[in-house]
């Protein structure tokens, strides 16, 4: 009669297999910031990739959008233990941005308006894994969430998705960015709980 008693025991909730270890699901979008929020108008916004020769590849706001904006639905995982699932974004794939950039270097430092930095291996930005996001939750990115444009690298902890993105610098070595210098993991895979040094 086990099938009869099962009904009284209540339905056991299966662990959500989309939540990495140590994460809690949230419905809101917490704002985290290590400094004052820059307010950058899209008319003044500029994005630059600097390669090892010192050459700079530049895009204005309109030039970036002209590369092609795509819809993206991804899960995001913050190192402070919250996760959001199926979050809607719009942005430009880094594959398009890097289409005409030649570099032998395998690492990238992302730079933000306001001075924030974070380091990422180049291969983690390519092959459909990362975007320059300009919209989230159906509207333009608010400054407090990194607008007008932020990096979106959803397979790594969210501190790697630098807010207020202004440029990428190619690096020969995996030098640490802001949080990576101050105690956070050099890579930051949420499924391996790579939170700290």
């Amino acid at each position: 009669m086990s099938f009869a008693t099962r009904g009284f025991s209540g339905r056991r909730r299966e662990p959500d297999t989309r939540l990495p270890p140590g994460q809690t699901l949230v419905q809101d979008w917490p704002v985290l910031s290590a400094g004052p929020t820059p307010h950058v108008d899209t008319a003044d916004w500029e994005f630059t990739i600097r390669d090892e020769t010192g050459a700079e590849h530049r895009w204005s706001w309109d030039e970036l959008l002209a590369l092609g904006v795509e819809d993206v639905t991804v899960d995001i995982h913050c190192v402070t233990h919250w996760s959001r699932l199926d979050m809607d974004w719009r942005g430009v794939s880094l594959d398009k941005v890097f289409e005409n950039v030649e570099s032998e270097h395998e690492y990238v430092m992302a730079h933000s308006y306001g001075g924030y930095t974070t380091n990422i291996p180049l291969e983690d930005l390519l092959d459909g894994k990362a975007w320059i996001a300009t919209e989230a939750d159906g509207g333009p990115l608010d400054p407090e969430h990194g607008g007008p444009a932020r990096l979106l690298v959803p397979h790594l902890y969210f501190w790697k998705s630098a807010k207020w993105l202004r440029g990428l610098t190619m690096m020969p070595d995996n030098d640490p960015g802001f949080w990576e210098q101050y105690g956070y993991h050099l890579y930051g895979d949420p499924w391996k709980e790579e939170r700290y040094w």
Binding site: P30, S33, A34, P36, W159, W179, Y182, G183, Y196
Partner: protein, 85 residues
């Protein structure tokens, strides 16, 4: 909306590391040279760690990352800090 607090918010975490009250300690900013007590710093707490910035120039003076079983402390933005006996 104020997005930061004053340096007194550092007291709890720093009391685990230093014997005296570090928020009353004077320190010199490595960016602009401003000398002030740590309590005057602007501290961003809604972040993966505490980030104390100079009230004069915004430079990061100190960071504290709490890993649970460790505190990772950086004072790299300070030229010097005066700890009273």
């Amino acid at each position: 909306m104020t997005d930061h607090l004053d340096g007194n918010v550092l007291a709890g975490a720093l009391s685990e590391v230093f014997t005296g009250d570090v928020t009353a300690a004077r320190a010199r900013c490595g960016g602009c040279g401003r000398m002030s007590v740590m309590a005057e710093a602007m501290v961003y707490t809604n972040a993966p760690g505490l980030v104390a910035r100079c009230a004069g120039c915004d430079q990061v003076l100190a960071t504290i990352v709490d890993t649970g079983d460790r505190l990772i402390l950086s004072l790299a933005g300070l030229t010097a800090i005066e700890l009273r006996r």
